[in-house]
Symmetry: C3
Subunit: 142 residues, 3 copies
């Protein structure tokens, strides 16, 4: 019976692992979008977070991968003392990627302990956005 | 003679209907672009309309499909009392798609009778932009 | 001996000329990005130039092609009396393409002798951006 259980578990794993391939084969490839924040404007930060929520709501959380990339004057969005800080935890909970640009951090002498805890980092925000587009992600600048 | 006339009309229709396919076969696929308006800034609305006109002028009206998607703070561009309302009729006459975001309308308690008459609607502006990019449309945020 | 030298020089030239093809064959196709400037905001112009520098620094100058397209209210970035004029020479030295929109110039009665010397021109900035995207270039609006 143990053997059967293990086999069933393996089969379940296989189904989960192959689901994206199956979806792709049916032409239902997952949506992917990178949202750019490069303005020092809290209204823009809120709009980017609203956009992310609406995208997940409209397409279904499991059908879309979302990243918000903050760079240049937009870096402040992802600081610990950001005006949208209360909403960042919720974004992370919803598997929305929050990525800060380390280039901007170096140029503005910002350290990781000044940033919102739990976010991720990319070496250069603008290069990350270019790479995502090359990988087929949609690009939206709210 | 009537039969000949009908046949000629049918042939003419067939030529019109098949023209896009022929153009595509020659690698002259139609240009397609989605313009995003998400700022509450009438200067940006005017720029988006100028962009659309310039694109049609430069590529030829028949060679390009254009949509302007207004969402978030940009929704006001497509309201009945919009500062660019006098230009919206001309855009519609030129087959420039004007699309308002129903998500934004719900969130701001805006109803369709407050919007400029003759425009079209999408459920979520940002998702529409993503889908257009996936379909190969260019994306420009003026 | 002269003949050998000429042969060696030819061989060296061939290596340089074929490098991009070789890179492409290895799937390491050159990165290409078009940066849009359409705001009358010198901070945005500086950000676009910073972005271009960071991209070259991060990917390596030889691995990326960059164009900055200025149109609409952004045209002023590339004028002779631009607030970022001192940085434009350096951009040109670094092979960053600086392209001004002739459509905008006509509409604002701006002549080429008012523009920064050494820049290039496109008929319509927005159409150029569309064409670049169709050719597979990434698009970033700083």
């Amino acid at each position: 019976m143990q053997a059967w259980k293990r086999l069933a578990a393996l089969a379940a794993l296989a189904v989960v692992a192959l689901a994206p391939l199956a979806a792709q084969a049916q032409g239902k490839e997952q949506y992917k979008v990178v949202l750019q924040v490069s303005d020092a404007d809290p209204a823009k930060w809120g709009l980017a977070l609203n956009n992310a929520n609406n995208i997940q709501h409209d397409l279904g959380k499991g059908n879309v991968q979302i990243e918000i990339v903050a760079y240049g004057p937009g870096l402040a969005m992802l600081k610990g003392d950001s005006k949208v800080a209360p909403r960042l935890a919720q974004a992370l909970d919803s598997s929305i990627g929050l990525l800060a640009c380390e280039n901007t951090m170096r140029n503005t002498k910002t350290t990781k302990d000044q940033m919102y805890s739990g976010i991720a980092y990319v070496d250069a925000g603008v290069v990350h956005i270019m790479k995502r587009q090359r990988e087929g992600w949609a690009y939206v600048r709210p």
